[in-house]
């Protein structure tokens, strides 16, 4: 659905996007991750035909962003980063104007769509307010209503949940997930749990380059080199520690107190799951295991390891 090949964008001396290539398949919800200033917004702006790339090509739907920008804009719904709105226009009026620009005719259909989008994004209660007086959360939702008013095939959302309160974030996520069943969604964010919750696919961009792509599970598989096991057991703690160190595959064992209980943090090499071995050994000695938990790398760990590696 979206195909980018070797996109390059420079602003004077700085290289904002550096030969970025990626693709988004139809019906996917794709998370576009990266630290601030990594080139997320610039890439999205190239895809929405707001800015031309210096090099490379991108197609959205089956249209080239350079050759057929109007056709591209017709099939996308775009929510820019800071949700610019006309301050003097009222919410309903603004959405009706946007619907008209996006070619929704006749007037009755336009009104129906506006009502529907306002209901979906929960902005009906502010329909008579001027956009300039809206709170950040409402602005964001008016922007989202605008993005999906013409029922576009592709939604491009630049940090859709920034500035929202927890309830609104959940609500927005629900809307995005719901949209994902019928539409292709590309959303940029740096809130990682969000990505794990809603995205089928992840693209990590760092310093303008695509650093990693794949499903969250694939990325975890690929980039997590070690895993941790947390253990709480009854018995002589020193001897437990000695036993643990002796197990093959264990690289280090740390003991620390957590709420008055002593907990072992066992680091292991590779992906091997040592939980069964550990519980067997302790059982052999007659020390009951109270808790045994394997912690695999989260997307956050992967994100940090990818974006910090080069420094």
């Amino acid at each position: 659905m979206i195909q980018a090949k070797n996109l390059v964008k420079t602003f004077g001396e700085t290289l904002a996007v550096d030969h970025a290539s990626f693709h988004v398949s139809e019906g996917q919800i794709v998370g576009f991750l990266g630290p601030n200033g990594a080139g997320k917004t610039t890439t999205l702006r190239i895809l929405t035909c707001f800015m031309p790339a210096n090099e490379g090509t991108a197609t959205v739907g089956s249209y080239d962003v350079h050759d057929e920008p109007v056709a591209v804009r017709r099939i996308i719904g775009y929510l820019p980063e800071n949700v610019p709105l006309y301050a003097e226009m009222k919410v309903r009026e603004y959405l009706a104007y946007r619907a008209r620009l996006k070619g929704i005719r006749p007037r009755r259909e336009r009104q129906r769509r506006v009502g529907e989008a306002m209901g979906r994004c929960r902005v009906t209660e502010v329909e008579r307010k001027q956009c300039g007086q809206l709170s950040k959360g409402y602005r964001q939702r008016v922007g989202l209503a605008d993005a999906l008013i013409h029922d576009p095939k592709i939604l491009i959302l630049d940090e859709p949940t920034i500035g929202l309160d927890p309830n609104q974030i959940r609500e927005t996520r629900r809307i995005i997930k719901e949209l994902g069943s019928k539409h292709t969604v590309l959303l940029s964010t740096h809130i990682l749990p969000e990505v794990e919750m809603i995205c089928d696919h992840v693209i990590i961009i760092h310093e303008g380059k695509i650093a990693a792509t794949g499903t969250p599970a694939e990325l975890k598989q690929k980039y997590s080199r070690t895993s941790d096991i947390l253990l709480e057991a009854e018995g002589p703690q020193d001897r437990i520690e000695q036993t643990l160190v002796a197990i093959d595959g264990v690289t280090s064992v740390k003991r620390r107190m957590e709420e008055g209980r002593s907990v072992f943090r066992i680091e292991t090499r590779g992906q091997a799951d040592l939980r069964s071995v550990i519980s067997k050994r302790l059982a052999e000695k007659g020390w009951p295991v109270l808790e045994l938990h394997r912690r695999t790398a989260t997307l956050e760990d992967i994100f940090v390891s990818i974006t910090m590696r080069e420094e």
Partner: protein, 307 residues
């Protein structure tokens, strides 16, 4: 930007506009050549303009959506109302000054200096503000062509300009009601025609300045100052080229500068209108400059390489 104009429908519409334009030009020329009936020319001009706008609207479906929003934002903008007040007060003052002539010819001539200061204030925010608040991003990522965007904004400003001009009809009424001989109606018609043409020229110039400025105040100041200088040029430049008995290199240069200056000084092109003469060459002058600046504005919007 060329997507529409290279399509079949686009070519048909272009052809239609051209035919209409030529036809309107011929009619205007015929009237100036034979009858000197500015009222008819004004009517003809307005009809041709309305037809062209209607055709353009058919061709560019988003044009009127943008125009409507522009008009709406003018009516909600305090600056626009201040501009209207200043314009009307100045118009009244000038009208009063020349009341003894029982004619509005001189009024239209001196109105151009008022316009030099007020019109750029109408257009200053049109694109600069969109850029500053970032709304240009949502606007240009909607399925809108750059031509639609610029023309839509231009039309919006033009409609508001007409709205500002509307109350001046009261002065026309005053002349008819209180002047014993009655005003020269041809002079009135040609004066309004000239004002409309000058307005189109200034609005497109202001729109272009707004498209290249980051700050709207810069667009307004640069616009007003440059138009004011051109006005002064028209005021102080002698009516006849510098005479010299022998053609030396220096006198040729002087003559060249004189001709350039009198070409650029828009009051020279406005003057015939305020005398009740309609010259198709002057119509072409204003319209081609308006088209030129609109084209530049479209080009500026298309090459959006700002951060």
């Amino acid at each position: 930007m060329w997507e529409f104009w290279t399509s079949r429908r686009g070519k048909m519409v272009t052809l239609g506009i051209l035919v209409l334009w030529v036809a309107a030009g011929c009619v205007a020329y015929a009237w100036t050549a034979f009858g000197k009936k500015p009222l008819v020319i004004l009517a003809d001009f307005l009809v041709a303009l309305a037809l062209m706008i209607a055709l353009a609207g058919l061709a560019m479906r988003n044009l009127f959506a943008i125009t409507r929003r522009e008009i709406g934002s003018f009516f909600l903008s305090p600056v626009a109302w201040v501009v209207m007040a200043v314009f009307l007060v100045a118009f009244g003052a000038i009208f009063y000054q020349f009341l003894e002539f029982a004619s509005m010819g001189p009024t239209f001539y001196f109105l151009s200096i008022v316009m030099a200061f007020t019109v750029p204030m109408l257009t200053m925010r049109q694109i600069a503000e969109e850029r500053k608040t970032g709304t240009i991003e949502v606007l240009t990522t909607a399925p809108v062509t750059d031509v639609e965007l610029v023309l839509g904004k231009f039309l919006g400003a033009a409609v508001f300009f007409l709205f500002i001009l509307l109350p001046t009809a009261a002065y026309v009424w005053i002349l008819y009601r209180f002047s014993s001989i009655g005003p020269d109606k041809w002079m009135l018609a040609s004066g309004y025609l000239g004002t409309l043409l000058l307005g189109a020229f200034m609005l497109s110039y202001g729109l272009f300045l707004s498209s290249i400025s980051r700050e709207q105040i810069v667009a307004a100041v640069v616009g007003s100052m440059s138009l004011f200088l051109l006005w002064l040029l028209g005021y102080f430049l002698p009516m006849n080229p510098p005479a010299s008995l022998t053609a030396t290199f220096w006198s040729e240069v002087q003559a060249a500068f004189y001709h350039l200056g009198s070409f650029l000084a828009f009051t020279r092109h406005l003057e015939p209108f305020s005398r009740g003469e309609v010259d198709s060459g002057e119509i072409v002058f204003f319209l081609s400059f308006a088209a030129f600046f609109l084209f530049l504005a479209v080009a500026t919007v298309s090459t959006r390489k700002w951060r």
